[in-house]
Amino acid sequence: MTEESLAASQAIPSVKAGRRTFALLKAFAAIAAVCVLPLVMPINIATEILIYGMFAMATNLLIGTAGLFSFGQAAFFGVGGYAAGYFLAHGWTSLPLVLFMAFASGGLLAAMIGGLIIRRLGIYFMMLTFAFNQLVYYVIYSWHSVTGGEDGLAGIRRPVLDLPLIGSFSFDDNRSLYGLVCVLFLLSIGVLARLVQSPFGLVLAAARQNSRRTISLGYHVPALQLAAYVIAGAVSGVAGALFGMLYRIMPIDSVHWAASAYVVFMVVIGGQRSMLGPVIGAAVFIWLQGLFSLAWTRWPLLLGLFVIIIMTYLPQGLVGLASQRWMRAIKRGARV
């Protein structure tokens, strides 16, 4: 054994420990960030950013990791929101129940649609996700007695958490709802980050780069992609449920194809190669949306222009740009 490789083998435990410290640091940074967020902006906006952050992270599991360009994720966000909202509006306010309903309905719908389309590739897959989004929109739009149709599902109440011994806890206050959203947001960031680094995530990434080779290595790629699709749908469903709780209404716009486009914007604006990217994209998007909609009723025009400009000049997204700058600075430092 040469000295170098000896040194390398001894370095491994410390590298591992370093990685663990780094992961811990990241977790603390995330917790600190969600604690600071409501101090610097209205709590509604902060809540919405975290909700859309969850939605965008789930979408990025498909787009960034698996390379499945889904343009119909609003269907799952909407169905989760409508399912939870229906229960909340009809007197079933138990928190675990409504969260489960949102998770299950989003996941189930994704399993049904995904089962039909997951083997279709490329353009075909994209068009199908869009078409199924339209189908779900159309069903919700027409099923007036349950969904409220064009007016959206109104009268959604905030859930109640019944804890044994401690008593029941309601989320009527916006700060307590923010706490709930924080917990679910951090939970999903943790779970999704683990998934991306797990063998499951690695196989998905391999299939993104070369699907045929990954299949020939013996991985059952479509089944794994379907699993990713279902997970993304379920998490999006929970995000939708939280959105309904926040504004006490589930608007029909939330299932519109434009909403699917918006979440893809968030992913692309932020950057697809990290967990943080989509969240930052969501924050920028929600912030811009608020700003533009105050300035002009035709704000989607400005949003569209913004997206075109970003795509032309900053294709790697904001996080991509930051890390590029960072790497360049490090290289420059190394040279000196």
């Binding site: 869009f130 692309v268 075109i308």
Partner: protein, 286 residues
């Protein structure tokens, strides 16, 4: 009953021809640029609004249709030049997202230009009224729309299959790299192809104006249907979309007799059926 069925059949063919125009354009763009044109619906709406403005300025309806084609084609060229081409360096997803952004921009511009209230227009005097065929009555405009769309599709078909330009276009669809190596300006070809596809969408919008009016949401609805038509027809074939468009229009209109509420649901059901039993589409090859 026969009366009703044949009337709906004729209706369905007219609507189907408009679907066919839409999906044919989508199919050309998909073939050349290898992207699903998410702005296709917005271009369709643009065509309807342009046609409305042209006829309300006193121009004849034929010029309105021409303006709808030209306006949408111009928008398609601008889209290719200023949105898709710059984004093409940044990868596939960037192009798609750009198209989504462009669709938003176009739809909002329509709202700025023409207001939020839907517009309606009745066909020119020559095409008003109906022809009695004995067993059924055919509104003149419905007949005109069907025949006119068929003529347009046939002439585009001749252009693609029988001219030198069409040969370049087909070469560009099948082997873009080889075509480029032969010294053919593929970028120019892409621009022209995008103009053609977009123009067809605009023309479809103009033709649909007397039937459904012009509203800002018409684009998104139509885009969903056009995608379904393309899936049913088969993505691999340029002309499958034409047959599938007519088929979808007819099926939709006939369903409307039995269950009006289900007429939109039925085309999605048809799509799911196709996905299950013939995933390559009716006319596509594996």
């Amino acid at each position: 009953m026969l009366w009703l069925v044949s009337a709906q059949l004729v209706n369905g063919i007219a609507i189907g021809m408009i679907y066919a125009l839409m999906s044919f354009g989508l199919s050309i763009i998909k073939g050349l640029l290898n992207i699903p044109n998410f702005a296709h619906g917005a271009l369709y709406a643009l065509g309807a609004y342009i046609c409305y403005s042209a006829v309300s300025m006193g121009l004849p309806f034929a010029l309105g249709l021409l303006a709808a084609f030209a306006g949408a084609a111009l928008a398609g060229w601008a889209l290719q030049r200023f949105a898709i081409q710059p984004a093409s360096k940044s990868g596939y997803l960037a192009q798609l997202v750009t198209l989504f952004g462009a669709a938003l921009v176009i739809e909002q511009m329509l709202l700025i230009g023409w207001g939020t209230i839907g517009l309606s227009y009745s066909p020119p005097p020559l095409l008003r009224g109906a022809v009695n065929l004995g067993f059924t009555v055919v509104p003149k405009y419905i007949a005109f729309a069907s025949v006119f769309s068929a003529l347009v599709i046939v002439s585009v078909w001749l252009l693609i299959e029988r001219t030198k330009f069409g040969a370049y276009l087909r070469a560009g669809i099948e082997r873009p790299d080889t075509t480029r190596a032969l010294g053919i300006n593929v970028d120019l070809l892409l621009g022209v192809g995008m103009m053609m596809g977009a123009g067809l969408a605009g023309l479809a919008g103009g033709l649909a104006l007397p039937l459904v009016g012009a509203t800002s949401t018409m684009g998104g609805d139509m885009l969903g249907i056009a995608f379904v038509v393309l899936v049913i027809g088969g993505l691999g074939s340029l002309y499958g979309s034409v047959a599938a468009g007519v088929l979808v229009g007819v099926v939709q209109s006939l369903t409307a007799i039995a269950a009006p509420a289900a007429s939109t649901a039925i085309i999605y059901a048809a799509m799911i059926g196709i996905l299950l039993f013939r995933p390559q589409g009716l006319f596509g090859e594996r």
